[in-house]
Assembly symmetry: D3
Homo-oligomer: 130 residues x 6
């Protein structure tokens, strides 16, 4: 159970509904996931976060699928269950296969291993890398 | 200063040198970075880790540049200075521009933000995502 | 299911009961939460941890509500489900409203985002901040 | 050395300068810290992040000093050197004394301790907390 | 529910079965735990990870029980539920008592506390420690 | 530079000196490391933390060397530079060789890898482990 009430569309204020409508239209879906329903307890925060997600995840120097996979990589590293499920679902919708997911996780696991070996042994950065 | 001595090529055993040689040849460079020099204090671990890196980072379902960018994303999330420098250097060598780096970091930052909002508000996973 | 048995008041030794009694009296409650029941498997650790919590969370240079909110901020950052629930409950008892919780989470989320942007881009500390 | 060039005011585009000007005016300072100079490599991201910081850190349900202290708590938990220095400086400017800083850190330390005891022993959330 | 299908022995390819057989024989058990069944979606990764675990966890300069306890310490610090359960079970099989587990957790908790106090106060490393 | 002044013995109050004396006597050293000098800005916290360290790190169900190695494992996982240096020094004083350190780090690295693979793939805990 979330720490705050989840605000359903039916009971939302017009301000919240306009964000919900934009989310559904932008993503081509007909439902709102719980993350936004929780944020809706603070309509200004809901609007701000949606604006951020929309801007950052739009096509740019990187393609949207790559961005979703980076999102999954960070979420797996942080152990965020919700985020791992939701962004894996989004990445699959954009074309990630099981083979790509398994290989993504292999890189995430390896990076976490070498991050700790390097930090643990306090290895200094080579001048060539700076 | 690292916690252990860095093993230079000149003083390395034949076993260590053969791994060093493979690293330089595989990567097309003529020097060994400190990470491997630290691991060389345990030749079996050096060999094992290099075998892992070589296998995981090879082309497969994902292309090598994407893999390096995921490595940077994880390293930035974990705050590993060495790893961020070394894998950013590697990603740039494979074609990552400044614009791509800035956009990568934007996704990493945003993912860390929403990871904490979701975990902090204890949002439950929507059945549609499972 | 916890990794260790939860020690109920009825079966507790006098040493454990005296800590349980102090917890209930200090907090004005008539039940013991699972965290302490797990620690009670090591009575010396139970006593030490309760002594720490009691001393650190007492009014001092900071007021108790602010301290609970810092506790929630750290727990959300670490993704500790139990701690987020228990300290949010404690903070609410001390006066935290839903609006305050949402704003607290907004700061926690933003701090996690800029922490990673800063670490990821390896920004050096300005001399003015030291 | 940062991964990207730091954009100084003198060389900045009008778009970047307008954000820099707003930062200096809002904070009542006459210099720009390195975090923004790094973000300025992506003017849209600079604008977006400043907009976020300005909105989230403004007075609201929580007072600005409390928000800065939460920022310090998260940064200490994440081990972000830059963020700890910059937000401690900001908190001191808003009235945080050494005694308050020491007490803040005591709570941060304790929360990290009990977060791991709870997660480590896999203690289940008491129904009373939900 | 895992993000990928769990591959049961009955439906596994000969390549996967040979790893499963080695896991069961090495550990003296007659079942495969879910971690390996998930990795089996990528047989090369399954083989690689099992090879790593087998090599790293074998007796060497440190005894196997100590290694399992370090595994539990890291898993508790990272908040990995699966890993905490599985490696606590493994450590118990190798002789860890409840008293040892409680003391292990006390060290893990304390280390996490002082890690944050040190990072939070930005204490510099004494020359004597380097 | 630390966020707070380091309190040297010569300028310390009798209350602080008595803790410093106990640290030096217990450890058989004639100097105080920076961690304690930073905590001394809050004498009650200095006393409390030293009391905790002394109690938790004393011989018990686990031997002191094993405890120091767990401390190093947690510090490496958290990326705490100070703690990694200080507890590695302490572990070496208690008998940890370079071979033991390298093997410790191998376990820490591997545990961080499998923690993320497990969390990333959202593997469910096998009933046999509970």
């Amino acid at each position: 159970m979330a720490l705050v009430r989840l605000i359903e569309y039916a009971e939302a204020t017009p301000e919240v509904r306009s964000v919900y409508d934009d989310i559904m239209q932008t993503r081509g879906v007909d439902w709102i996931n719980n993350f936004w329903k929780a944020l809706a307890n603070d309509p200004a925060q809901l609007r701000r976060m949606w604006h951020n997600v929309k801007q950052v995840m739009a096509p740019g120097a990187l393609d949207p699928l790559l961005k979703e996979m980076i999102y999954v990589a960070v979420s797996a590293t942080n152990g965020c269950e919700y985020c791992t499920h939701s962004h894996t679902a989004a990445a699959r919708k954009k074309g990630m296969s099981d083979a790509m997911l398994m290989e993504l996780m292999a890189v995430v696991g390896l990076a976490n291993e070498t991050n700790r070996l390097t930090n643990g042994l306090r290895v200094e950065v080579d001048p060539q890398f700076r």
